[in-house]
Symmetry: C2
Subunit: 203 residues, 2 copies
């Protein structure tokens, strides 16, 4: 019977491991109903250690949300800016693909948390707005503008708010968060909308 050590010291990995566990727990229970003890158990550490890396529960929450946002956004928005596709191809292809993925991704969880906890964490809301929403909307606007410059779209296409592209994605997200068991072809919803908008912009 070898004398197994009770634990290993892993200074580097702990914060991320705790953040991952916390994200899952916050996602399942919401902010107020998650207990630090559960997070710690899930991460395989003691409660005390959690407090070594994150000063308070709120700190942990904020760190976790930002962490998820950071890890997702750059890859997604990054490869958008370096595409060779025509505006129409882009909107119908990569943008649509992206939107189809979101409602089932951790971003949806973050949005749920922002909806419930946002009012009590305005700095988080701002962070999310600037790093995700504003950039995303601007990207869409760019593509429409480029389409107009190239003569793909009518000038009036610029009047449309880019939000209209995202509206069905939003509805799909909420639908799946709330009515997970009620059927709805959310992909088709988003496809229809893109076609609708493209038709209008080209006409």
């Amino acid at each position: 019977m070898p004398n197994q050590p009770k634990y290993q010291r892993r200074k580097e990995d702990r914060p991320q491991e705790i953040a991952d566990a916390a994200f899952k727990t916050f996602a399942e229970k919401g902010y107020a109903a998650t207990r630090i003890d559960d997070v710690a158990k899930r991460a395989g550490v003691s409660k005390g250690l959690t407090y070594l890396y994150y000063k308070t529960k709120e700190d942990l929450f904020k760190a976790v949300v930002k962490n998820v946002v950071i890890r997702r956004v750059d890859s997604l928005i990054g490869n958008v800016e370096s595409t060779e596709l025509s505006s129409e191809e882009f909107l119908r292809g990569p943008l649509l693909e992206f939107m189809k993925k979101v409602p089932g991704s951790p971003i949806a969880i973050v949005i749920r948390l922002l909806i419930s906890e946002g009012p009590r964490h305005p700095d988080l809301v701002n962070y999310y707005y600037e790093n995700v929403v504003a950039r995303g909307l601007e990207a869409i606007r760019q593509f429409v503008a480029r389409g107009v410059e190239r003569g793909e779209f009518r000038r009036e296409a610029l009047d449309h708010q880019p939000h209209l592209f995202l509206a069905p994605m939003m509805l799909s997200m909420i639908w799946r968060l709330v009515f997970a068991d009620k059927p709805l072809d959310t992909d088709q919803l988003m496809e229809s909308q893109v076609e609708l908008l493209l038709a209008e912009m080209k006409a």
Copy 2:
């Protein structure tokens, strides 16, 4: 100095008063962070009385959500079914008006609560789905169908999911709940969408 009574007995009004106070508190703080003591203070009664009319905190929560839903929905959906307008007039008029009102109404608060607390209260979700969502979607579907029968719309209009009408409303609601201070002309968003869909359905 007249000997004022400490309180009045108002058996009839108390439940509604408590429900109103509870709604406001749940809206501000969410389910878990709401303290029964605060609700009671807000309603001007003692904590004990709250427990006379509502057995548990969860009971109170469910009663409150249903209460809000009941008080709103019937009037809204009711007068929809007895309209003389053409389908197009209806979609462009009363439906649009209705959608513009929702994001600032208590319904938006209820939806926020369902988003955060839904998973832990499946019966509430079902109640809401059957009494609001299903009926709302069906109403829209009816109007499209009627428009097709009357030759106002193309047959293909039926293929569109009614959800597409509501998508910008959803986005507007969430936007206002989360990004209250960031500007967005949500009314225009919904108008554009209705025009977009009508154009497509008529073409």
